[in-house]
């Protein structure tokens, strides 16, 4: 800067001296002064923002860690005094001195409800996402999308009551028919008398996860590169063929990630399941879709008001710990899938 050969540059660098001088230097002044101030602010802001972002991330990570530690600490004494195998037993006697509790039944019901819910929800969600992004004009599409998203705003207790009082009784005759025709398959064998069964809970859960899966699928399908679509069409593909060879492969990993998020939601859903699903006390696991049962979350919620001893609390928290790990695993898998780039 010192040896500036040019007069214009000289005036600008030398602005302190020139500060009070004529207006002809106006072009140099406003550029240089704000430049200097701006540089310092930018630096400080940068640092603050970076620190803030780190702090935010640290808080979240620590929170998850603390929840995990909290669960483990409370669960450990009870787990140590559990007189049956925690992973394979279906018993749950925690009110007395001898603790007998196992999660086999809870795990089965939780997994079955969540998986069936996903089997029902994903095709519908993908279908609506394709309709919205590929078939109907933008305005109609966003209206449909808005309506689907509204489902996410309904409280789960409303879904639960709806499933218990309306959907279940309405589907009763269909369940009877299904049991009559397919009863020889264990999955469709006789379960509980009422319609408070796994299938009703799954259908309600499917509706609840629909907006999650649908919204994310919509976003990924909408991002299919124009080139891919036009290339497919130029090769003479019909609309369906274009979707099959261009849109679906592009969005596949996104849809899988969306489903995993939905699955996490389905695994942890509490109130709706608690209200709909009948508890049973027959020993062992009934694998049927028409059986009752309890999920991890519904069992804990159902009994949370009567946690009167540390041993009892610990047993339920141990079940909560398994759900925590399970959800964690599902989210991790969805992460891996989502990170895998499109073919």
């Amino acid at each position: 800067m010192a040896d500036a050969p040019d007069a214009t540059v000289a005036t600008t660098t030398d602005h302190e001296a020139a500060a009070g001088s004529s207006a002809s230097l106006a072009t140099g002044k406003p550029v240089s002064t704000p430049n200097l101030t701006f540089a310092t602010i930018k630096h400080g802001g940068d640092r603050t923002f970076r620190a803030g972002a780190y702090a935010a991330a640290a808080i979240v990570v620590l929170l998850v860690l603390f929840v995990g530690i909290f669960l483990a600490v409370i669960a450990t004494p009870s787990l140590r005094h559990d007189t049956v195998n925690f992973f394979t037993s279906t018993q749950w006697n925690v009110g007395t001195d001898t603790l007998q509790f196992g999660i086999a039944g809870l795990l089965w019901t939780t997994a079955l409800i969540a998986v069936v819910a996903m089997l029902l929800a994903v095709p519908v969600a993908v279908g609506t996402a394709l309709l919205i992004t590929q078939y109907v004009p933008g305005r109609v599409g966003s209206t449909i999308g808005f309506v689907i998203d509204l489902l996410a705003a309904v409280p789960s207790i409303i879904f639960g009551l709806w499933g218990l009082k309306l959907l279940g009784p309405f589907l009763g005759p269909f369940y009877d028919w299904l049991q009559h025709v397919l009863g020889w398959i264990p999955l469709f064998s006789k379960g509980v008398e009422s319609t408070g069964n796994v299938l009703t809970a799954s259908i309600v859960l499917a509706i609840m996860v629909l907006p999650i899966v649908s919204a994310i699928s919509r976003d990924v399908f909408a991002q299919t590169p124009r080139d891919h679509i036009e290339a497919a069409l130029a090769l003479g593909a019909t609309k369906w063929e274009m979707i099959r060879i261009a849109v679906i492969p592009y969005g596949r990993s996104g849809v899988i990630a969306a489903s995993m998020l939905g699955l996490g939601r389905a695994l942890g859903e509490t109130i709706a399941v608690m209200i709909i699903l009948s508890q049973t006390n027959t020993p062992g696991i009934n694998v049927s879709l028409f059986a009752g049962g309890e999920t991890f979350a519904s069992k804990i919620a159902n009994n949370a008001q009567e946690f009167d001893s540390p041993a009892k609390t610990g047993a339920y928290i141990a079940a909560g710990l398994v759900l925590f790990v399970l959800t964690f695993a599902v989210n991790a898998v969805s992460r891996i899938v989502a990170d895998r780039k499109v073919s």
Partner: protein
């Protein structure tokens, strides 16, 4: 001073008291608090936190609340702790709210059904599976029972109602209902539903269903309530029959402590013994005078005709006159 003509003469002192405990009496006590406030133009502030009987006793003994509410009277050890809490004065258990259990059923074409403890225990243990079982028919001569399968519904959440039902079953059919009484249902088979509301809904929706409910849930949902045959014919659930069962109870408390020992298998004529009694636990003396005045006045209203009769809407039966007189004597003896 009292708003209603039949109400007791109330002093209506100003101030605030807090009670805590049993969830079984929540509706009853809220109702009483509301009508007491009406009668006293809201001069006193009375709060009741329904946190469970255990918590109620614990916090009463810790001096955190002015009275406790509990499904069971104080144990000897709890009485000892209460002695310290009430400044070397005894604490008294006063039976205040009587909540009967309704065995509700839903059976097409059957509007009157009589059951007894033994048959109920066998139904709940899955030993009687159809409505036309000879054991049920024997109690219901003249009634055509369908061959519908029995669907049992119980509470999936731990509850005092379940505890009470198992006490009743154990007393009447000890060889069939072998499990100890507990807040967790120990029956075999059937389906658990969340809360009384869940059980009531399931019974209402299922032909052939039976379940146990707090009285108000059975009447609110217009469900059939089985009569109990304790040896001399069916007894319907009503204020009168519940009162008779209470009169059959013995008072095991000493002096003004009115701890009751219920006889779940009483043979007293016209008694319906499937009931739950909840107590208010109070210091006989030792609380500061302003609070004592409110406690006494509030409980006086609670035990009055007007107070007790207003509870039918929330599923409680009024205390019988004989017991009410004793409760009132105790209340007036609080210093």
């Amino acid at each position: 001073m009292a708003a209603s003509g039949s109400g007791p003469a109330l002093a209506c002192p100003a101030g605030a008291i807090t009670g805590e405990g049993s969830t079984a009496q929540t509706n009853a006590i809220q109702q009483i608090i509301a009508s007491y406030n009406d009668a006293c133009a809201n001069k006193a502030k009375i709060e009741y936190n329904a946190t469970g009987s255990g918590a109620g006793v614990k916090n009463f003994n810790a001096g955190l609340v002015d009275f406790g509410g509990s499904d069971s009277a104080l144990s000897t050890a709890e009485h000892a702790t209460a002695l310290a809490r009430c400044k070397s004065n005894e604490a008294w258990d006063l039976p205040m709210v009587v909540g009967p259990v309704a065995f509700s059923y839903n059976l097409k074409g059957v509007s009157k059904l009589v059951l007894n403890g033994d048959v109920l225990a066998k139904i709940f243990m899955g030993q009687i599976k159809a409505w036309n079982d000879p054991a049920i028919a024997a109690l219901n001569s003249g009634v055509t029972l369908p061959s519908t399968a029995i669907s049992v519904f119980y509470r999936s959440d731990d509850s005092g109602t379940t505890d009470n039902v198992s006490l009743f079953l154990k007393a009447n059919a000890p060889t069939v209902w072998t499990a100890d009484h507990s807040k967790t249902w120990k029956g075999k088979g059937g389906e658990g539903k969340n809360g009384s509301a869940g059980v009531a809904q399931a019974v209402a929706a299922t032909d052939g269903a039976i379940g146990y409910l707090e009285w108000s849930f059975a009447t609110d949902n217009k469900l059939g309530i089985a009569q109990l045959d304790m040896g001399s014919g069916g007894v319907a659930l009503n204020a009168d029959s519940v009162g008779k069962a209470l009169e059959a109870a013995t008072i095991t408390g000493t002096g003004n402590d009115l701890t009751l020992k219920l006889d779940y298998a009483t043979k007293a004529a016209g008694a319906y013994p499937a009931i739950l009694v909840t107590y208010e636990i109070v210091c006989s003396a030792g609380l500061d005078s302003a609070k004592t005045a409110i406690v006494k006045d509030f409980l006086t209203y609670f035990a009055s005709d007007a107070g007790q009769n207003s509870l039918s809407g929330v599923g409680s039966a009024p205390l019988p006159a004989s017991l009410r007189a004793k409760v009132n004597t105790s209340i007036q003896a609080i210093k």
